[in-house]
């Protein structure tokens, strides 16, 4: 498929960077070029943005599968923190002024507790935590401090436009996860998460997570179905369409428990699930009652069931780790017999939490587009470099850069995707959906053409030709606007690329 073309783009960019490295060798800009080259070999960088208390650290822990980030307001959440894969456990502090250096740390109940030494949090540019974790191998996670307090000032000065000017900034991260809270579409806080100054928005590789999904139904067992409905509505909102690719509901606490469930906790939950239903009902009535109701209150004293009720402090721990909703879901899954073992329960919790879908989105969809994005970021960075440090030897580089940008079809596709999502083109809804589907690299040719997976090669070819002709006709229509015609031309080229990959 276009795989060959994509790596071709990346290798052309690498060539360009090598040339730049030669030009700038020995100058002050040399480290910048080195860093750009290094970036191209790194795993996917995912930044997590959103308001404090939106559940960022919980989500990060769920993605790593370990309780790394402190989940209550600690020092670390006030500093941009990178979580990368490493061979050893190591924490590096990058001060705003001075050299990056290793700092000691402790693990406090799982979470990493970093000693900042003589630095105050404000003086620290970022922390880098290297951790030997399988989950961090394909991606580096960036935890941002989030937006501290709600800006009540609705004056012009507080409004920073969030929709990016796509050719102007490089993106420090390859993908962004925005944590949204459930608010009304007319709410002042609706787009709050996107005002996070710590990430540069780039809609093509951004996803919104409807966080705390387990709270949508105030703990009802069908809460996640409601959360899915809300996410559907958000997905249709034109403002969100312009800012993110998708909206996924995730119950962070459930996901975290799904990755870190302990055997003792499983045993306590299994015991609970064996209590008579009316006892369970009384127990799960409220968080208070779950913790403080005694066996005598429940009429269990002296009965064989008394031994099944975990002591109060264990119940408190369960509540903290899973939430009332998590406890209900677990107990229901166990008592209905759908799960029997600790690993099955963990899997059930993960599945229900929505975290699997988020991971899939990150690793299939975004990872595929990563090369293009990296190439794009690198080109933007080189352009900036050339403007900031003009050297006579750099002139041919400028020409090469211009040529590369103009001829790379992937970059045109990327821009088109942004434009489509922004609703800036006068395409019909059907046309827009079709175009987006067609541009969704990282999916199969069947999905891109919107035909069944078991279509024969002949059917695929027919569908492709039909699509190609449709866009060609659209592009040749003199009534279409210039932008529409240009969009059609890009899509025709995309079809041609698909065709070439089929034949080849």
């Amino acid at each position: 498929m276009t795989q060959g073309g994509r790596s071709a783009l990346l290798s052309r960019v690498l060539e360009l960077l090598a040339e730049a490295a030669a030009v700038y060798q020995g100058t002050a800009a040399a480290p910048v070029v080195d860093e750009l080259i290094g970036r191209l070999h790194e795993p996917l960088r995912v930044a997590i943005a959103g308001r404090v208390k939106a559940g960022k650290s919980t989500l990060l822990n769920a993605l790593v599968g370990e309780e790394l980030a402190p989940t209550d307001a600690g020092e670390c959440t006030r500093i941009v923190t990178w979580y990368r894969h490493g061979l050893t456990y190591r924490v590096t502090l990058v001060p705003r002024q001075g050299r990056a250096h290793q700092v000691p740390f402790a693990r406090d109940d799982g979470a990493v507790d970093v000693e900042l030494g003589e630095y105050t949090p404000d003086e620290v540019a970022s922390l880098s935590i290297e951790w030997p974790s399988m989950a961090l191998e394909p991606m580096t996670l960036i935890d941002t401090p989030g937006i501290g307090s709600i800006t009540t000032d609705v004056s012009a000065r507080s409004l920073a436009f969030l929709t990016p000017d796509e050719d102007e900034q490089p993106t420090p991260s390859d993908a962004v996860i925005y944590l949204l809270r459930h608010v009304h579409a007319a709410d002042v806080q609706f787009l709050e998460a996107f005002a996070d100054e710590h990430v540069t928005p780039f809609p093509v590789n951004a996803v919104a997570v409807l966080s705390r999904a387990d709270e949508m139904g105030v703990g009802r067992l069908d809460a996640l179905a409601s959360a899915a409905q809300i996410a559907d509505r958000y997905r249709g909102d034109p403002r969100l369409r312009a800012l993110v690719q998708d909206v996924v509901p995730v119950a962070g606490l459930l996901a975290q428990a799904g990755y870190t469930l302990r055997e003792t906790e499983f045993r306590q939950l299994r015991n609970l699930s064996q209590l008579p239903p009316e006892v369970l009902e009384a127990l799960e009535l409220s968080a208070d009652r779950f913790v403080s109701t005694s066996a005598a209150d429940l009429g269990l004293a002296g009965t064989p069931a008394e031994g099944l009720l975990p002591p109060s402090h264990e119940r408190r721990n369960l509540l903290e780790r899973l939430g009332l909703f998590g406890v209900r879901v677990s107990v229901e899954a166990l008592s209905s017999g759908r799960v029997a073992t600790s690993s099955q329960l963990a899997a059930e919790l993960r599945a229900q939490s929505g975290i699997d879908r988020l991971r899939k989105l990150l690793f299939s969809h975004f990872a595929e587009r990563r090369d293009t994005l990296k190439a794009r970021s690198a080109l933007v960075a080189v352009e900036r470099l050339l403007a900031l440090h003009p050297l006579p030897a750099g002139r041919p580089l400028t020409a090469r850069l211009e040529q590369l940008r103009a001829s790379a079809h992937e970059l045109a596709e990327l821009r088109l995707v942004n434009y489509l999502r922004g609703g800036a083109l006068s395409l019909s809804d059907g046309e827009r959906t079709e175009a987006e589907q067609l541009l969704a690299s990282g999916t199969s040719v069947y999905q891109r053409l919107g035909i069944p997976d078991d279509a024969s090669a002949d059917e695929v070819r027919k569908a492709l030709v039909a699509t190609l002709n449709r866009w060609r006709t659209r592009g040749e229509n003199p009534m279409s606007s210039l932008a529409d015609r240009e969009a059609s031309a890009i899509l025709v080229r995309t079809c041609e690329g698909l065709f070439a990959s089929l034949v080849g």
Partner: protein, 680 residues
């Protein structure tokens, strides 16, 4: 398993509202579950009605149709008196659930996502009813909205954003009637659309409704502490309604609700707001009612909430209404007695009656002046209204100019085609927040005007009344009105006047105009020559030409965006100022009517006294003697009415309380015969 959870059994809004006639399982909530009858003693309202009757009997001896019609009005005011409690708060905080749990019926649609879009008022009625009230004809600001009964199944179609009911756009509010003891004392609970910060269009409608409410329940939940925008709304609410109470919901779900509660109390007291917060859990309440579990009902917080509504708020409001009526009754008695005394004086001493007739003539002239256009209070009112209109409109225009300026500045910083999706909500938010602040100004200034007019009227009224030998006549009647600031116990007339501030087009039109920007998009406008072109065309066209073209089109888009902004702000200003004028006109009319009526009563009483005195002079000795006897009798008849009026705003004796209790228990007998099922 789902059924084992009381939480799980709550159907979403999609399910039709449960028939409100019966509680689940037919079990009736116990008295402890908070739905028992109010204590059976005579309420302030009953006492006031009794006093009206007593006064009617006392003044019946003279042919005074003005008194009779005044008494009819007072009786009607008492009968229709209610305690309107607005339940407000942000989106998804459990407002509808709170009301449902209070009345133990699914009357306010509850859904995890779809929000309440229209106010739903729940009041008492002997049988369950549901009706919609349409917006009145905009051309006629006297008109009342048409009311139409609707089936219960259509409740959520009319009340929520899940559209689909016929005429839903014309619906102003939904009114539910339920046979519940809690509501019997005139309590009306109003579920409102969630406010999303002071900037969302629904906020404007809710804020506009605040002055007409007797109390406000502000609902927040235990998921997090009060946010900045919630605090701001609370402050606004507090400025426009004297009784604001906080409720924190969902305490069953969040283990750390006590911490949140404490933090919230600190937030409130730091901001000078009353720190009382009731922590409440609807699932616990429902469970308690279904299982008749008194201690659980207390744990749910609803016992306290019911106590607050039924035993604190409703009586306070009823007392204020009754107190206002009592004051007016006293005034009628004063006038009645003054007339009789003047006649008596003439009858007893015909020699000096020529003097008193002259004196009465002068008093009559003075009273007529009080009624006339030249009266001081009339000037105050006329000038005040003119100033009010000018100031409020000036404020609105100044705000809109500033808004346009800021918006244009913003437009010049970027490309409208790109930032429009963000710009649009920003503009709506700004405009709404301006309208809300303008409304607050209108409210404050109107209250001040009311007080000023009252002060001037009273001063002159007192002077006339003193001539009629009425001892400190106005002290009782306008004690509240004369105060420059609102006291929690304001006389009912005052609150009525202030509720006239609520625009007739008010809520809905405002919401629709404020949000109508949503239909403006940049689709089809001069679109970007798009960086897409960078690929193919740049090389041919040359970068400079391309850039020039790009700039030209950007300038065009900016001009278009500015035009849209100006049109939008013009619409908002036009509607808001029409609303303001309508509101002020209503306030003006109510104030004028009220004071003219009182001045007329005074004038006619003086006139009657005068003619009685003149008759007395002319009458024969025998006739005089006979009439004198009659007048003394008539005067005697006023004392029971006096007593009745004086007792209206005095709480009942404790002895009456205990005596009344068994009666109330009998009246609300729990037997299935005496009470329809579930009529709690």
């Amino acid at each position: 398993m789902t059924n084992a959870h009381p939480l799980g059994s709550q159907p979403a809004a999609a399910a039709p509202a449960a028939p409100p006639t019966q509680g689940p399982g037919g079990s009736r909530p116990s008295a402890a579950a908070g739905s028992s009858a109010p204590p059976g003693q005579l309420t302030a309202k009953d006492r006031a009605l009794g006093a009206v009757d007593a006064v009617a009997a006392a003044v019946a001896g003279l042919d005074r149709p003005e008194f009779a019609s005044r008494l009819v009005t007072l009786r009607r005011r008492l009968r229709s008196s209610s305690c309107t409690v607005l339940v407000v708060g942000e989106f998804k905080k459990g407002k509808s659930t709170l009301i449902n749990a209070l009345v133990h019926a699914q009357v306010c649609p509850v859904d995890d996502d779809i929000a309440t879009a229209k106010p739903v008022a729940v009041r008492h009625s002997p049988d369950p009813t549901a009706e919609i009230v349409l917006y009145p004809d905009p051309g006629d600001d006297q008109a009342l909205g048409e009311r139409r009964p609707i089936p219960f199944e259509l409740l959520s179609a009319y009340a929520t954003e899940a559209a689909g009911a016929p005429d839903v756009d014309r619906v102003e509010r939904v009114v539910i009637g339920l046979p519940r003891n809690l509501l019997e004392g005139g309590l009306v609970l109003v579920d409102t659309p969630g406010v999303g910060g002071l900037g969302s269009p629904h906020t404007a409608a809710t804020v506009a409704a605040l002055p007409s409410a007797d109390a406000v329940l502000f609902v927040t939940d235990a998921s997090q502490e009060l946010t900045q925008s919630e605090m701001e709304f609370l402050r606004t609410a507090r400025a426009m309604c004297p009784r604001v109470m906080c409720i924190m919901t969902k305490t069953d779900f969040y283990p750390s609700w006590r911490t949140i509660l404490q933090l919230n109390q600190e937030h409130l007291s730091r901001n000078g707001l009353p720190g009382r917060i009731i922590a409440a859990s609807a699932p616990l309440r429902t469970h308690a009612v279904v299982h008749n579990d008194t201690s659980l009902n207390v744990e749910s917080g609803y016992a306290e909430l019911v106590h607050l509504l039924r035993d604190e708020l409703a009586p306070q409001v009823a007392m204020a209404t009754a107190g206002g009526v009592a004051a007016e009754l006293a005034e009628i008695l004063d006038l009645h007695e003054a007339q009789l005394r003047a006649e008596l004086a003439a009858l007893e001493d015909p020699e000096r009656s020529a003097d008193s007739v002259r004196e009465l003539e002068r008093t009559k002239e003075q009273a007529e002046r009080l009624r006339g256009q030249a009266a001081r209070w009339q000037h105050t009112l006329n000038d005040g209204v003119a100033d009010l209109v000018a100031d409020v409109e000036h404020d609105l225009r100044a705000r809109s100019r500033e808004l346009v300026r800021e918006a244009e500045e913003l437009i010049d910083t970027g490309d409208p085609a790109k930032f429009w999706p963000e710009f649009e909500p920003w503009l709506t938010r700004r405009a709404t927040s301006d309208v809300v602040q303008n409304l607050t100004l209108l409210h404050q200034r109107s209250v001040q005007l009311c007080a000023r007019v009252a002060q001037h009227f009273d001063a002159d009224h007192r002077e006339v009344a003193a001539r009629l030998d009425i001892p400190a006549p106005t002290e009782l009647s306008v004690s509240g009105v004369a105060q420059a600031t609102f006291k929690p116990e304001r006389p009912s007339f005052f609150s009525q006047t202030v509720s006239a501030l609520r625009g007739s087009t008010g809520g809905f039109m405002m919401v629709s105009v404020l949000s109508n920007l949503a239909h403006t998009t940049f689709a089809g406008l001069a679109l970007a020559p798009s960086p897409l072109l960078l690929g193919g065309v740049t090389l041919m066209m040359g970068r400079k030409t391309f850039r020039d073209e790009k700039h030209r089109m950007l300038a065009q888009r900016r001009a278009q965006a500015k035009q849209v902004v100006r049109r939008y702000t013009d619409d908002v200003v036009m509607l808001a100022s029409k609303d303001t004028r309508d509101s002020i006109r209503r306030v003006n009319r109510q104030l004028r009517d009220h004071y003219v009526e009182r001045a007329e009563l005074l004038t006619s009483s003086t006139a009657e006294a005068l003619s009685a005195a003149q008759n007395a002079v002319r009458a024969s000795e025998q006739r005089r003697m006979q009439r004198r006897k009659e007048v003394v009798e008539l005067l005697d008849r006023t004392s029971p009415a006096r007593r009745a009026a004086a007792q209206v705003d005095r709480p009942a004796q404790p002895s009456g309380d205990t005596a009344a209790r068994p009666v109330s228990a009998a009246a609300t007998a729990r037997g299935p015969v005496a009470q329809p099922a579930g009529a709690a």
